[in-house]
Structure formats: structure tokens, C-alpha cells
């Protein structure tokens, strides 16, 4: 990764991949700028019609709608609102799915 795109995101921001259909909602981020990418390319505002670039084959594990993604230390959390072919990475590290305990429906 030659260029760093360090941006301070805020909870509630809707972001989209520039390499695949993937979209995410920022649930929680640290109070420092981060280099947030999907499929190896920097994210853009969702539905902004950003030009597509090529996916990084090393970051093509994909994201699934409805899953929450977090870093190992759980300092940040993103909700995948639309699935895509790229993986989410922050400062070069790929994020994993946050395990959720299955609960009985109470509504």
C-alpha cells in the first residue's frame, strides 16, 4: 500500500466500495483518522457514483449484508448494508465478522 488515505469517519456515515457492490454503515470508530478500504481501494460516500477500480485479489474475501465487522481489539465496528466481493481493511489489517450470540425472538 503506497498511499495512505487517513480520514476521520463518524458513526452513521454510509460508505460504498469503489471496486464492488459493497456498502457499509459506520457504527463505531476511534477518534483518530483511519485508512478504510474495501477490496483494497479507499471507500467513497455510498451511492455517490464513484468510478470503479480493480479489486485487490488479496482483499477479495467478500462482505455479507447484515454482518458486523470489527478489528481484533474491537475499537471499531461497521455494518455491511449491502454485500460485495471485497473485504474491509483498516490500516492494512482485514476486519473480521463480529460474533453475535443468538437470542430468542422477544418481539
Amino acid at each position: 500500500m503506497s498511499v495512505q488515505y487517513n480520514i476521520q469517519y463518524k458513526a452513521g456515515a454510509k460508505l460504498g466500495s469503489t471496486v464492488c457492490d459493497g456498502q457499509i454503515l459506520v457504527l463505531r470508530v476511534p477518534a483518530v483518522p483511519i485508512d478504510l478500504r474495501i477490496g483494497g481501494a479507499p471507500v467513497a460516500a455510498a451511492n455517490a457514483g464513484a468510478e470503479r477500480t480493480a479489486i485487490d485479489a488479496a482483499l477479495a474475501g467478500g462482505i455479507q449484508t447484515g454482518k458486523r465487522y470489527t478489528d481484533e481489539a474491537e475499537t471499531m465496528e461497521f455494518l455491511c448494508t449491502r454485500g460485495g466481493a471485497g473485504s474491509i481493511s483498516v490500516n492494512g489489517a482485514v476486519l473480521g465478522i463480529k460474533a453475535a450470540k443468538a437470542l430468542p425472538s422477544s418481539d
Binding site: 452513521g12 457504527l27 449491502r82 450470540k101 425472538s105 422477544s106 418481539d107
Partner: protein, 489 residues
């Protein structure tokens, strides 16, 4: 964050799945999204400050909830069972609102349209849902069982935290359906919409609860899930008598929203033997459920011979993984397990604020529920009434719950409410309104002796009145204020 995201995700991932069944009408998620965009266009066209809903449950209610979110105004469902002047008083508190109603309402500054008009073809608002910091999603007037209704504020962030923390996206099978009987103005009516949409579970709406109709709809729609308030479950068990119903599709039955008598829970489990029972405890101010007693807990307790294990059916379960619950004493200090005190709760879903009164959260984010209870050594929460219902007799605090439990254990006592009554010597003393089983003859002295044999003498009701029925509101909340008034007369 904005709740509209939940519906967008559902429409995107499963647009042709049925979202709502109402009578003979089915609406899929794409259709609900389109309806919500029309609602938002109508809100924006009238420059409304709120979208209020004063009608029974129907497809317009979920569309109004999501449409208001898209338009960036609070959704305000109002209790249609209130008296005319009570409704007028609430409408006066929401000037500038667009009101969805079938009723002939005229109120200054309020524009009305019917549910059918709300859903009718028209312009669609194509824009993105706003992401306002701390934007208000819902204002819910509390039932006001102890005073004038307060307008509880639920922000998008609170409700999103609840849904994302408790519901798996598309976790339901396409064939699943839940039957919604709680009214739109109850917090469980709001959470039913949000949970069902996010899980992809079809909502079968039953606007006016009736046990026979409920069973018929469960069969007709192959309903898999249900939520009921205790009085509804009680009416279903009474309707069935001793004959278990033929409802093979029903897998899970959740209940909450008020005190569930142990006998009703046990009887319901016996009538629905294959069904998973879940008890949900929550408040309007906490965006619905904060603790759950799950299916395994129910089965273990029901099958147990040990009374201590069996008593767990009377627990509301353990805190959600995303929520902390703590018991504190009158001085505000946390107490250990098994010790009763005030229930406090903390978590992102906890809103704990009211219009005009501000936030009731303390500096560390804890909300005082005003419920009384204790937590056992395994983390199970037991509730024991409201702090406001405590009887203060000569400086001694007496909780109605333990006295009610003793009286309810009498074979001929069907229902009971223990409240404070004015007393010249003690300030307050214990009063009890008792409903006896049909044809039973029990004296006040007999019941007083029963309490004296089990509890301290200060707990013995000084006044016992036999009544035909206790006053409950339509969602099963005992109106203690009314009982107190009756017994004080």
C-alpha cells in the same frame, strides 16, 4: 444513524418476500419501502414537524414509522383507546404534526389524513434518510398509570442499537411469520416492526385481539412466532380450557409487558407443549427488551420438583449481552446478589429521556427504571413491583408483591392487588382488592390469617375488599392508581 437503513437493507436483499399480511392484503419489502417513500413525500409536502398515528394496527403503521424516519421527523403513535379529551390534550403537545387517523379529529395546527390516504399512490421521496446526530425516531406517550402521560424519546441510535444487538439480519426463514397483537402505540408494537423487518419475518397483523381470532390467524397463516402481553395469554388459556390447540406451525411464544401470574405461565406451557417460551422484560424508555428468560430456562423450571428451580419461571431472566443491569439500595449503592433494591440499566439502547424533562441517565449512563427487584447468584432478575407502589407504613417500606404472592397462593383467590391506603396512625397501611373464584366464599379474616402466618404482622392487610374484577389497561398493566382510589374511598 437512521432506522430507514433497516428497511432499505431488507428491500435490497429480499424485496419480494412478504413483509405484512393484513386481512387479504400482502405487502412485500419492496412494496413497504415504496409506501414509506410516499409517506416521506407527504410529510415533506406538508412541512410537518412530526408524523402522528392514531389508529388501530395496519399496514399504514409500519409505513408511517419508516416514512417518518426517511423524512427526518419523529413518529408519534397515540393510544386510540383514550378518551376524547385525553387525545386532545396529547395532540396539543405536538403542534405542526401530520396526523394519520380514521377518526374525525380537529385540532389546531394538526393536518389529518386517513391510513388509506397515507398509503395511496402519489409522489415518492427519492432522497437518502438524514443522519442527524441524536435524531429522534419515536416519541411514545407512556401509559400514565401513575400520573399524566410523559413523552418518552427514543432516538435512532437507541433503536438501532437494540435491533443490531438482538436480531440477526434475515435470520427468519421465508415461511416464518409472527402475529402482531400489540397496538402501535406500545413500545412492543414499535420493536415488533423493526425486529420483524430486519429478520425478514412476515408480520401478520391482528388489530383487535380476540383469542379465537388469534388461533384462527395462527392456523391460516402458518404463524411460527408470537408475542403476547400476559392478559392476552391468559385469555387464550381460558378460551382453550384444557384442550391443547392444533397449531403445528407455532414454534415460539414470547410474552412481556406486565406481571405474568405463575399459574398462567405454567398452564400456557402445558397447552403449547412443543412451543419455545420466552419472557421479555423491558420498558418504553429502554427501547423494549433488556432481559430475557429463554426457552431452556422455561422447560427446566417447569419440569423441576425443587421449588427453588421452579421459582425461576417467575424470573424475567438475564440481561441481554449488550445491556448491564444493576440493583442499588436507597442510597444509590450497588447491592449483592439476592438483595432487593432498585433496578438500574445501562446500554446503547437505553434512552431514558422525556420531552421537556431531559435525560434521567446518571453521569455513568445508568437509567433508574423505578422497578424493584433482585438478581440471584446466576444472574437471573426477579421483579417485585414499582418503587412508586411501595407502601410506607410507619416508616417501614412494604412491597405489595410479597403480600400478593401469599394471597394468590390461596386456592380460591383468582387475582389480587395490594396498595397503600391512608391510615391515621401509620400514615399508610396495607389494602387489598381481591377477586375470588366464581362461587367461592372466603372471609377477610381468613385471608388476614393467611398473611399473618407467612409474613410479618405489618404486612397483614388492614383493609380487604372483594371485587368482581381488577382494573387493567388493554395491554395488561394493572391500574394501581385506580385500585388505590377505590380502596381509599
Amino acid at each position: 444513524m437512521n432506522l430507514f437503513t433497516l428497511l432499505e437493507m431488507a428491500a435490497d436483499a429480499m424485496g419480494d418476500r412478504i413483509a405484512i399480511s393484513h386481512g387479504d392484503t400482502d405487502i412485500d419489502y419492496a412494496g413497504l419501502l415504496a409506501a414509506s417513500r410516499r409517506v416521506a413525500a407527504r410529510v415533506r409536502a406538508t412541512a410537518a414537524t412530526r408524523l402522528a398515528y392514531l389508529a388501530v394496527n395496519g399496514p399504514a403503521a409500519p409505513a408511517a414509522l419508516f416514512g417518518a424516519a426517511l423524512a427526518g421527523v419523529p413518529y408519534v403513535p397515540i393510544n386510540y383507546r383514550l378518551a376524547h379529551d385525553e387525545i386532545a390534550a396529547l395532540l396539543a403537545r405536538i403542534p405542526g404534526a401530520l396526523l394519520v387517523t380514521d377518526a374525525a379529529v380537529t385540532a389546531a395546527g394538526i393536518t389529518c389524513l386517513t391510513p388509506a390516504e397515507l398509503l395511496a399512490d402519489g409522489l415518492s421521496w427519492p432522497g437518502e434518510a438524514p443522519d442527524d446526530d441524536r435524531g429522534i425516531a419515536v416519541e411514545l406517550f407512556t401509559s400514565g398509570t401513575t400520573g399524566a402521560p410523559k413523552a418518552a424519546i427514543l432516538r435512532h441510535d437507541n433503536l438501532m442499537a437494540y435491533i443490531l444487538g438482538t436480531v440477526e439480519f434475515m435470520g427468519a426463514d421465508e415461511a416464518d411469520a409472527t402475529i402482531v397483537t400489540v397496538p402501535p402505540y406500545h413500545v412492543a408494537g414499535i420493536s415488533a416492526v423493526l425486529s420483524s423487518v430486519y429478520a425478514g419475518r412476515r408480520m401478520v397483523q391482528l388489530p383487535a385481539f380476540d383469542p379465537g381470532e388469534w388461533l384462527a390467524l395462527v392456523r391460516r397463516h402458518g404463524v411460527s412466532n408470537a408475542f403476547l402481553v400476559p392478559t392476552m395469554l391468559q385469555r387464550i388459556t381460558e378460551h382453550l380450557g384444557t384442550t391443547p390447540p392444533v397449531v403445528p406451525s407455532l414454534r415460539a411464544l414470547a410474552y412481556g409487558g406486565g406481571r405474568m401470574p405463575l399459574a398462567v405461565a405454567e398452564r400456557a406451557m402445558d397447552l403449547f407443549p412443543g412451543v419455545d417460551f420466552t419472557n421479555a422484560y423491558g420498558l418504553t424508555e429502554t427501547s423494549s427488551t433488556i432481559a430475557l428468560l429463554g426457552p431452556d430456562d422455561h422447560r427446566t423450571a417447569r419440569a423441576a420438583a425443587d421449588p427453588a428451580v421452579r421459582a425461576r419461571l417467575g424470573s424475567v431472566g438475564r440481561a441481554l449481552p449488550t445491556v448491564e443491569i444493576e440493583i442499588r439500595d436507597d442510597a444509590g449503592l450497588p447491592v449483592g446478589s439476592g438483595i432487593a433494591g432498585l433496578v438500574f440499566v445501562r446500554g446503547d439502547q437505553v434512552a431514558g429521556e422525556y420531552q421537556g424533562l431531559g435525560s434521567l441517565l446518571d453521569a455513568d449512563g445508568w437509567f433508574p427504571t423505578r422497578d424493584l427487584g433482585w438478581i440471584d447468584s446466576d444472574g437471573y432478575l426477579y421483579l417485585d413491583g414499582r418503587a412508586d407502589d411501595v407502601i410506607v407504613r410507619g416508616g417501614e417500606n412494604i412491597s405489595p408483591g410479597e403480600i400478593e404472592a401469599v394471597l394468590l397462593a390461596h386456592a380460591h383467590v383468582r387475582d389480587v392487588a395490594v396498595v397503600a391506603v391512608p391510615d391515621q396512625q401509620w400514615g399508610e397501611s396495607v389494602g387489598a382488592a381481591v377477586v375470588l373464584a366464581a362461587g367461592a366464599a372466603v372471609t377477610a379474616a381468613e385471608l388476614q390469617a393467611l398473611v399473618r402466618g407467612k409474613l410479618r404482622s405489618s404486612r397483614v392487610p388492614a383493609l380487604i375488599r372483594f371485587v368482581e374484577v381488577l382494573p387493567y389497561n388493554e395491554t395488561g398493566k394493572l391500574l394501581r392508581r385506580v385500585v388505590r382510589g377505590d380502596l381509599s374511598r
